[in-house]
């Protein structure tokens, strides 16, 4: 993975010193909270319902064992012994003290991490496919380009005060695991007819109050032009994006109101001015970055070795876990391991310091010291030999980390909701916990099959409910927590926004409603259909009928 050189390190060190000074000015009273607010937000420090919250960037979701150990240490020393992985592949601490935050940032800087641009109206942490570099269906490793974007977007002098926050996601694979079509910019690495590598550029996706699927504004951008093209998009957006209404300020609204053709034309015109200037990186610099993402030293192994298949046959619990949580690796004899952070009844995305340490140790033993964070709030060990899977699984079990539910109904995305978030209408976490408990029986979950359930505590949609096969949105009804359900959303290459099924449910009805929806699907499905297939075939009506029919 990428390692800082002296320049990268100097920047984060200077940033720590700058923030230390700002916090000192705040604590001494020289700065008011109002004056301090934009400064702390530039460093990912939010003021939540009960305390400050610090959001730390995990660029494109890639961590080393050393970094994860440090995150565990910070959780223990400065927080309450746990932390929360977010849908943007970041990590949040919910209880830091203001006076400790400069030290936390310094501890992060010592392992090449930071909290720069994890909040504010700037270019946020760039996310990528969690299977980068190991997926069989990949054209090129998206992390190379995500790192190029990380550097370019860090303290960008022109784009630090955009109309609104700005999120970029990159995938190099056919199957989109990074939800790129619901980002401000989504990049898909592709080959053209002559086998040149470049990007399909998708702009204007997003969730929130006005959910939209992004539009392709360029089918193929030769990859050497990545930064100049991004700069052109951002420059158009910075000048023309709406600043009169924060709900209309995202680039999706500009694309929508301008029309995709005209927007594209503006970007292309701007790009023609700057495309052969000095913005794009020289090939040697890209090669330097690329070298950090070289594959580990794979051994020549046979696929599905007998000692592994024997364990599969002998231990059905292990086999269940393998069936859901292991993805195919591009190298024979290796596996991609998904560690679910969704234990039955647990808080989605939370991990204790001990668990983080354990995972970091396991990654050092079995996965070339590397861990990935997924936007579904799980973790991935990308380079595990199949012969090591059984031992690894036993270790994970000991830590309560072997829940065999990846992509099943209890693998829920949930935002922090009213338990933490000042903007929330309703709680998300207890709803996720109750649903998870209702479907605790793994056999039943496996029978239901792949089903993405996502929960947001308000219309800001941090829990991605719009693109859940079942989406749950917390709404406020005369001071009561209610939950509106949408069906049929998907975040992948066939991205779709879910449709509201009917009136919202009270908090004591919402779990029953989910079960009714699931039962309706099970009753209607035809051979081998997933929930989403059945939904696409039969539509909202049968679900509506079973939910509200006798009212």
């Amino acid at each position: 993975m990428y390692r800082y050189d002296e320049f990268d390190q100097r920047l984060v060190d200077q940033r720590v010193a700058q923030f230390r000074d700002q916090v000192a000015r705040r604590l001494s009273g020289e700065l008011t909270e109002d004056e301090f607010k934009p400064l702390r937000l530039m460093n990912g420090l939010y003021l939540q319902l009960h305390a400050y919250m610090l959001r730390v960037a995990i660029p494109y979701g890639t961590l080393s064992s050393r970094q994860l150990h440090q995150l565990a240490h910070i959780a223990r020393r400065y927080d309450r012994g746990f932390a929360h992985f977010t849908t943007r592949q970041n990590i949040q601490y919910n209880w830091p003290r203001l006076e400790d935050t400069p030290d936390i940032l310094a501890e992060l800087a010592s392992v090449e991490m930071h909290a720069i641009q994890t909040s504010g109206n700037c270019i946020r942490n760039t996310t990528a496919d969690q299977y980068a570099g190991v997926a069989a269906d990949e054209v090129e490793d998206p992390r190379i380009h995500a790192e190029v974007i990380r550097q370019w977007s860090t303290l960008h002098p022109e784009f630090s005060f955009l109309p609104r926050k700005f999120k970029i996601a990159v995938t190099g694979a056919q199957h989109d695991r990074a939800a790129i079509r619901v980002h401000d910019i989504g990049l898909v690495i592709r080959r053209d007819a002559n086998a040149n590598v470049g990007f399909e550029v998708v702009v204007g996706g997003g969730l929130g109050r006005t959910p939209m699927v992004g539009k392709t504004i360029r089918e193929f951008l030769p990859k050497q032009y990545l930064l100049s093209y991004l700069e052109a998009i951002l420059r158009v957006y910075n000048q023309l994006g709406r600043r009169d209404n924060k709900y209309k300020a995202r680039v999706k609204i500009l694309v929508h109101e301008t029309g995709v053709e005209e927007f594209t034309e503006m970007v292309e015109t701007e790009w023609r001015h700057i495309r052969d200037g000095a913005i794009d990186l020289p090939a040697e610099e890209v090669a330097r970055i690329r070298a950090y993402f070289a594959a580990p030293d794979y051994q020549t192994l046979s696929a599905a070795p007998p000692e592994y298949t024997a364990k599969l046959a002998a231990d059905p619990t292990f086999a269940d876990w393998v069936r859901t949580n292991i993805a195919a690796h591009k190298v024979p004899g290796y596996a991609i391991v998904n560690i679910s952070l969704k234990p039955i009844g647990g808080i989605p995305g939370d991990a204790t310091a001990d668990q983080m340490d354990a995972i970091a140790d396991l990654a050092a033993l079995y996965s070339d010291r590397e861990i990935r964070v997924t936007h579904e709030q799980n973790l991935v060990l990308p380079y595990v030999r199949q012969t090591d899977l059984y031992l690894l699984w036993q270790e994970l079990r000991r830590q309560g980390l072997a829940t065999a539910n990846l992509n099943l109904i209890s693998d829920i995305i949930a935002c922090p909701g009213l338990d933490y978030c000042a903007l929330a209408n309703a709680r998300s976490i207890p709803v996720a916990q109750q649903i998870s408990e209702r479907f605790a029986d793994l056999k039943r979950q496996h029978d239901i099959g792949e089903l993405r359930l996502k929960i947001s505590g308000c219309i800001n949609a941090c829990g991605h409910h719009h693109v859940g096969n079942i989406g749950i949105l917390g709404v406020d009804r005369r001071g009561e927590e209610y939950y509106q359900i949408t069906l049929g959303g998907t975040p992948d290459e066939q991205a779709a926004i879910g449709t509201i099924v009917g009136p919202a449910f009270a908090s004591d009805q919402v779990v029953d409603a989910v079960e009714t929806i699931v039962d309706t699907y099970v009753g209607q499905r035809q051979d081998g259909e997933l929930f989403i297939d059945t939904y696409r075939r039969i539509g909202n009506a049968p679900f509506k009928e079973s939910l509200y029919g006798n009212h």
Binding site: D5, F7, D8, R10, L11, Q14, R15, A17, Q18, D21, Q22, P38, L39, N121, Q151, W152, T154, L155, H156, P157, E158, F159, S160, F161, L162, R235, N238, Q239, R243, H273, G277, A278, I279, L281, P282, E284, E285, R288
Partner: protein
């Protein structure tokens, strides 16, 4: 308001006239006018033969006066709030697209913690509240500008972006001149 320019607090010789019908100062006085005034009064303003500046709101792109740049010795670009970042793009366009080399002054809600971005984008003069003594204001200003000296991007200021510094280092290394 005080003006910081070239790392000094300077007296501001300019008068600003924004309304279309406000009187102009006497003929030899430098004056900054709004875009509306410029468009309404173009010929008369050119005929004055004294230094002329143009003040643009954050909604007004310098593109509209791209052909008239030779008339202006100064651009005053407005930040109605520090969160309105349009003028960063406008300053870069002036410097990089249109090759403008006169003064570009940041006016409005100009805060210490944004100065470093402004300077990178081509601003070389800053309107700051006249509070306390000039020396203290200047010291703050200098401190703010020296907090970060590593930049990844190209911009119209004199800073060398990191990728070029890296290249330079590896060339020096290959040539045996690294010290």
């Amino acid at each position: 308001m005080a003006i910081i320019k070239h790392s000094q607090v300077v007296e501001d010789p300019w008068t600003t006239v924004t309304a279309v019908d406000d009187p102009l100062p006497s003929n030899d006085q430098p004056v900054i006018v709004s875009l509306a005034r410029w468009q309404a009064d173009r010929a008369a303003l050119i005929a004055r033969r004294s230094p002329l500046g143009l003040r643009l709101s954050s909604a007004e792109s310098p593109a509209v006066v791209a052909d008239d740049l030779a008339y202006f010795e100064l651009f005053a670009l407005e930040f109605p709030a520090f969160t309105d970042g349009r003028a960063y793009s406008h300053a870069r366009l002036l410097r990089e697209r249109y090759g403008y080399s006169g003064e570009i002054r940041a006016v409005g809600h100009v805060l210490r913690d944004q100065l470093i971005f402004m300077r990178r984008c081509g601003f070389d003069a800053f309107e700051v509240p006249r509070s306390g003594d000039a020396a203290a204001a200047l010291a703050q200003f200098q401190a703010a500008l020296s907090e970060i000296d590593v930049w990844y991007q190209t911009a119209p200021d004199a800073q060398t972006p990191v990728f070029a510094r890296r290249q330079h280092m590896s060339e020096a290394f290959l040539n045996g001149t690294a010290g």
